[in-house]
Symmetry: C2
Subunit: 405 residues, 2 copies
């Protein structure tokens, strides 16, 4: 007998028939003798409908009220799921954010979980209940409803799993697990049976949109084993766990890519202390996240500075930098939206050398020019021209021996 | 400056455009220097949609979970209304049942309000907020969501008005007020400018479906002046208040009717102590409300017992009584679904005699046979054949001098 947390996304509970299918799966887990806590998202599409309704009422709807509105989505699915399970003869009980005591800060629309009072959930489990918790929502210290941002139900699930010390947290989604590359562009991509938290973190932030990144941070911090799998079949998915010796023997676990990139270059910037701050602070103040930054010293007292921002923020950032360039006396501002980022990721890099040179030589062999490079302990990323993205991913996938047989 | 509670029903907030219209009205009340608390229902139709969704998941959905589900309806309207008012430049804040501390018992789907913690509402009012409270919903001692039954938002409004000692509670609805009779069948019906709580109570329970009866009991108990009016125009509606000398001068304030009646008669019942209980208890146990009861002694040791039940419960009640009749040795069970109840109501009856005889003679003059009679201090009701309903209402309306000029 184990204590299992299962999280089902919006597609999995998209209508009453799908809710019934998911209820069958929950029931099987319970029948096998496990204690089960279920975390649900809103039905797919509902959150977007609510947002569009809100936008009809006010140009810039208040965030506190938006969270009250959006929280109805999960409230609907948890009550329907509890009814369904009860109709099948199981003891089941829904819990909203405030009932599960999912305490967050007051950052409406992107709140962070501070604490979870697990007592009520545990007590219901002891009484034989299947507990159905509304994902995505919490409550702040004032008793106001908060939401955790897109994908927040993943974080709800992991946080609940950590609080009740669950044996496993299963994330049911519409993909079968984590792949060595995006199967849509790399036909030889394989499903990974295991992946380290740190690898998953790098993949999440690089565009493998399976799990909310914060949920992985949470899982790592509290050592919650995650099982990412499909709600539409019985296949084993991918376990996200602490890294182990086996993982370290593999040099690279996956190749990711992101086309959501653009870059801005300021040329011939007078090189004095604090100049990078003068250039980047106005962008950050506009709420735009800067990813990679490269500074090349050209001549004495002159430097070029290049940085990347998400593609949707490109125009805003470019306007900002044109003003900055005038103020600081830079010669020119250049922008480029036709770029992409490809990355190789693997905890094995910690103990294997030569990964970077292999990556660079692979791209060179395909005549792909590297525009920017950044690295972490377990990742190497290259910015390239966007049109080479698919070619680069496939070449790297083969070079690092990730291809399926 | 006054402290005003306004309650808007589902039709008044039926879509985002109507929400905007209501927001205009709220804003005008605020602009006039008043403090305003608003109670909202769910958008019209939403509650029925949710119920039908629930019925797809389970044959007999759990009442606790149903309340969690239904509460989303009001959660949606209050957040949208708060956003709308904020978009118009007003300080506004939504509150759900648990936030407004609307404490109820745990009778899911028909909970009763035990207490309201007015502090948070008052504090927001002092800070200049328009407070938008979700009607229909409360919270029980376990922190679970409860709902107050159909029309429960009326009771929410009155209870909040009582708790914060509001100067007036305005009930906005799709009719213009309380009429001397149903204008659909009595062309000469007039809108009453004032009506006593007790009269309204008799009207509510007799089928004038403007206000939930419990809300009127609450208003009477705490002396909350109710103003029932239309949300679609600026006309004054009907004030529901304590009775005063003027009201007592009027003999009859209104004529009501209900076609939702049926009657069951057990003939030749052995007359012994406790026999009425034997006949009526099984019906009550089936959750069927018995309204009028008449027992006629026929011969020594034999009696006839007739009672009325709501028409939708007729078949069930008839089956029950057939069994009862066998057990107690009654000769026969007869049923009749083609009946109606007409009533005249007025606090003036307390000081005027002759109302009953006038009612009976009026009906007699129209050749309408009276099947059953029941009275209260301020009401006389007659059961008649259903086909005479409209004729009876119009004749009584004229006889008691209620016709408009």
């Amino acid at each position: 007998m184990a204590l299992i947390v299962q999280k089902y996304g919006g597609t999995s509970v998209g209508d009453t028939q799908r809710i019934k299918n998911v209820a069958q799966r929950i029931a099987r887990t319970r029948d096998a003798g496990n204690q089960v806590v279920v975390i649900l998202s809103a039905m797919s599409g509902v959150t977007d409908e609510l947002i569009s309704m809100a936008e009809k009422t006010a140009a810039n709807p208040d965030k506190r009220e938006m969270d009250v509105l959006l929280a109805t989505g999960e409230q609907t699915t948890v009550s329907l799921m509890a009814m369904t399970l009860q109709g099948m003869g199981y003891k089941a009980r829904s819990m909203l954010g405030y009932q599960a005591e999912i305490l967050t800060d007051s950052s409406y629309s992107k709140a962070r979980i501070l604490d979870i009072g697990a007592e009520r959930i545990k007590s219901l489990l002891s009484d034989g209940y299947i507990v159905i918790v509304a994902g995505f929502q919490g409550i702040d210290a004032h008793g106001d409803i908060t939401t955790l941002g897109r994908g927040g139900s993943d974080t709800s699930a992991v946080a609940v799993a950590a609080a009740i010390k669950a044996d496993q947290c299963e994330i049911y989604t519409d993909v079968e697990g984590i792949y060595t590359a995006d199967p849509n562009i790399c036909g030889k991509a394989r499903k990974l049976s295991r992946i380290a938290y740190d690898e998953m973190l790098e993949m999440s932030s690089l565009g493998a949109k399976v799990l909310q990144i914060r949920s992985v941070e949470f899982a790592k911090k509290y050592g919650v084993p995650l099982h990412v799998r499909s709600s539409f079949n019985e296949e084993e998915g991918t376990m996200v766990v602490h890294e182990d010796a086996n993982m370290e023997q593999v040099v690279v676990s996956g190749v990711t890519h992101s086309k959501n990139e653009s870059r801005i270059t300021l040329r011939k910037v007078p090189d004095r202390p604090g100049i990078a701050y003068s250039i980047l602070a106005p962008v950050a103040e506009a709420g735009i996240g800067v990813d990679m930054i490269i500074q090349n010293t050209r001549l004495s007292n002159m430097t070029d500075l290049t940085f990347t921002v998400p593609k949707p923020d490109f125009k805003t950032a470019l306007e900002i930098e044109k003003k900055v360039a005038e103020e600081i006396g830079a010669a020119e501002v250049m922008g480029d939206e036709n770029i992409a980022k490809v990355s190789v990721i693997g905890v094995g890099m910690r103990s294997h050398s030569g990964v970077a040179s292999k990556m660079f030589s692979t791209l060179a062999r395909e005549n792909i020019n590297i525009l920017m490079i950044s690295t972490s302990e377990i990742r190497i990323s290259c910015v390239i021209e966007e049109k080479y993205t698919e070619l680069a991913v496939r070449a790297l996938h083969t070079a690092f021996e990730l291809d399926s047989e």
